[in-house]
């Protein structure tokens, strides 16, 4: 038996897998899982077969496309989920963050200076890529600690643009 907490677009589900049965919150299903390719799986739940397309993002994170709907998911064992909850409450360790460039591009605008207080969701940087300007938002609340690029400079994918403490 395995016990998981799985987040789907920030909503959490409790999932227990037990041989051919799977329980999600209070509903229990018989399931069969067939791999069609690395990106496509067939999941039979009772009498319904779902044809599912999967993006694997690594470390328990997936992008799931089912019938034209797309969900981002993150799977954690219940134990890890509990440990993280505990840490989050204890310290601000999760409040720190690095904003990385999600793709190569040109830094068009930086909206903050070192020392500014920011909230999660604030637009910190405008990055131009694929002929479009893209807003990069802070995922963390905190204070701007370091800004490593200037407006007009190019960044590579994964470059840390801003550190939030």
């Amino acid at each position: 038996m395995s016990d998981y907490i799985t987040a789907v677009d920030s909503k959490k589900y409790h999932v227990i897998i037990n041989n051919n049965d799977v329980k999600i919150n209070d509903s229990q299903y018989k399931y069969e899982l067939t791999k069609a390719s690395n990106a496509v799986y067939l999941l039979k739940l009772e009498n319904k077969i779902y044809d599912i397309t999967v993006n694997h993002f690594g470390s328990g994170r997936y992008g799931i496309l089912i019938q034209g709907r797309y969900f981002e998911t993150e799977v954690k064992t219940r134990l890890r989920e509990k440990a993280e909850e505990y840490l989050k409450n204890k310290t601000d360790v999760l409040n720190k963050g690095e904003m990385k460039a999600p793709m190569p591009g040109l830094v068009v605008k930086i909206n903050v200076s070192v020392g500014d207080k920011v909230k999660a969701g604030d637009i910190l940087v405008v990055l131009e890529a694929m002929k479009m300007e893209n807003n990069l938002k802070s995922v963390h609340s905190g204070t701007i600690k370091k800004i490593r690029f200037k407006e007009g400079e190019n960044v590579e994918k994964g470059d840390v643009i801003i550190t939030v403490d």
Binding site: S2, Y4, T6, V8, D9, K11, Y13, V15, I17, V22, I24, S27, Y29, Y31, E32, L33, T34, K35, A36, S37, N38, A39, V40, Y41, L43, L45, Y50, D51, I52, T53, V54, N55, H56, G60, Y62, G63, I64, L65, I66, Q67, G68, R69, Y70, F71, E72, T73, E74, V75, P102, M103, P104, G105, A129, M130, K131, M132, N134, N135, K137, K157
Partner: protein, 494 residues
């Protein structure tokens, strides 16, 4: 007919042109860059040529190199697609000078329509309704104040050489004028290499209606009715439909005949689109002419039965338009969704990666024009349009129902696509009663909390599949398409 042409483009439009060539038995050749080795258009073309540029620009923009290849391989004509060099009159001039044929209008028409102030001046002189404002460039603050005196605030400053929302600014009072004028001029300079701007009356919450026209070299002009493209994000079209659900037969008749007059005024040849803004009193104004094939041309093909790209090739060769105006009637309703590599839940951030899986929807009334296949790369070098999903139905309701059904069948893996966005748009009240305008915030639709009925259930399925995949103990049954290990016909070497 031509024996061989060169397609100076990539992606879905290159593939679309290849299909027309194949039906007309023309050899289709394409160019591709180092970044594009796995691109889908190479797989469909008869011939593919690697192009490199000495200039510090995308090779798809290297006019001389493209023409050199065309001559070298014996292509008689060049199809530019849309974007890239399609509306570059210098490119067309070079092609004309080299004795090749440009599949599109003359360099003269393109130049005339490319400078917005010149186009406005021409249209005004022919009695075509233009948005009140200047037909001459506005150079400074005093020019601007004088221009605005006769039209009143709010006004819109636009780039003369512009398009795509760049260099465009709304000004609501004189206090905002100086700064906005300066910013529009500098944006325009940066984007188009010219700081020339003009001023128009701002039209609040308009709709975007356009008319497809076709003209041949023998003085024949036809229209293929209208399209509505009001669902936009940052002035980029997302979803288009034909015919427009907003206008009635009277406006339709006026707008289509006006479009034909615009084409005549521009001495236009080949396929083109006249864009109009429709205000809240259903009055329409000439906005601009797109002197090329449009992304959204398939919805017009769906309701008229005319193959626009084949007409383009025929006309460029010197043939007459293949149909009479009175033979063209609107048949049913069509809608197109632009399937892009964009994560709309994450502020429309472009998504890059390699396509791992691509399953096309099918069934009655469904067409997909695509520029991607398994292994092709979605990179930062090109725009994020991967494919276009087009549905046709006997009426708008059937077209919407088919589109929703097809969206639920469409599968792409390797990047995040905007497929789910369209279900939200199609289910939104402002879409079903077509009260949306070009200013309807797509965010309003994205963050519409009216949960689609089956979303809850599917979220559960998403949780289950993710957990099962993550669970190391889950046993996957072997796929029948995998190498079959139970093969009874194994050769026994012993």
């Amino acid at each position: 007919m031509f024996k061989k042409i060169l397609i100076a483009n990539r992606g879905e439009i290159a593939v679309r042109i290849i299909k027309a060539c194949r039906e007309l038995e023309i050899i289709s050749s394409v160019i591709y860059t180092e970044h594009d080795k796995n691109s889908y258009h190479l797989r469909e073309a008869d011939e593919a040529y690697l192009i490199t540029s000495q200039l510090k620009i995308s090779p798809y923009l290297d006019k001389h190199e493209i023409i050199k290849i065309a001559k070298h391989i014996g292509a008689e004509a060049i199809h530019p697609g849309y974007g890239f060099l399609s509306e570059n009159y210098e490119f067309i001039q070079l092609i004309e000078n080299e004795g090749l044929i440009f599949i599109g209008p003359s360099s003269k028409s393109v130049k005339m329509m490319g400078i917005k102030t010149k186009a406005r001046e021409l249209m005004a002189s022919k009695g075509i309704p233009i948005i009140p404002g200047t037909t001459e460039p506005v150079r400074n603050f005093n020019d601007a104040v004088r221009a605005i005196a006769s039209i009143n605030y709010p006004v819109m400053i636009k780039a003369s050489a512009g398009g795509g929302g760049k260099g465009m600014r709304v000004v609501r009072s004189e206090a905002e004028l100086e700064e906005n004028l300066a910013r529009a001029q500098s944006e325009s300079e940066k984007a188009f290499g010219s700081n020339e701007v003009f001023i128009e009356k701002y039209i609040p919450d308009p709709k975007h209606i356009e008319v497809q026209i076709i003209a041949d070299k023998h003085g024949n002009y036809r229209h293929l009715y209208d399209r509505e493209c009001s669902i936009q994000r940052r002035h980029q079209k997302l979803l288009e439909e034909a015919p427009s659900p907003t206008i009635d037969e009277k406006v339709r008749e006026e707008i289509t005949s006006t479009a034909v007059n615009v084409a005549k005024a521009a001495e236009y040849v080949n396929a083109g689109t006249i864009e109009f803004l429709l205000d809240q009193d259903k009055k329409f104004y000439f906005l601009e002419m797109n002197t090329r094939v449009q992304v959204e041309h398939p919805i017009t093909e769906a309701i008229t039965g005319i193959d626009i790209v084949k007409e383009q090739l025929n006309i460029a060769y010197g043939n007459r338009i293949s149909f009479k105006q009175e033979d063209i009637k609107i048949n049913g309703h069509a809608i197109e969704c632009r399937i892009c590599a964009e994560d709309f839940k994450n502020d429309f951030l472009p998504s890059t990666g390699q396509i791992l899986h691509h399953r096309l929807p099918s069934g009655p009334g469904i067409r997909v024009d695509r520029g991607i296949g398994v292994l092709s790369e979605i990179s930062v070098h090109y725009d994020s349009l991967m494919a276009k999903l087009i549905s046709w139905g006997n009426n708008r309701e059937e077209s919407i129902a088919r589109l929703k059904r097809a969206l639920s069948e469409y599968q792409i893996s390797g990047v995040v696509s905007n497929i789910p966005l369209f279900s939200k748009i199609l289910n939104h009240k402002k879409f079903t009663d077509f009260s949306y305008t070009i200013n309807t915030l797509i965010n309003e639709i994205v963050h519409n909390d009216e949960e689609l009925n089956d979303d809850g259930n599917l979220a559960e399925v998403a949780a289950l599949i993710s957990t099962l995949l993550n669970d190391k103990s889950s046993k996957l049954t072997a796929n029948k398409n995998d190498v079959n290990t139970d093969n009874q016909w194994k050769i026994d070497y012993e």
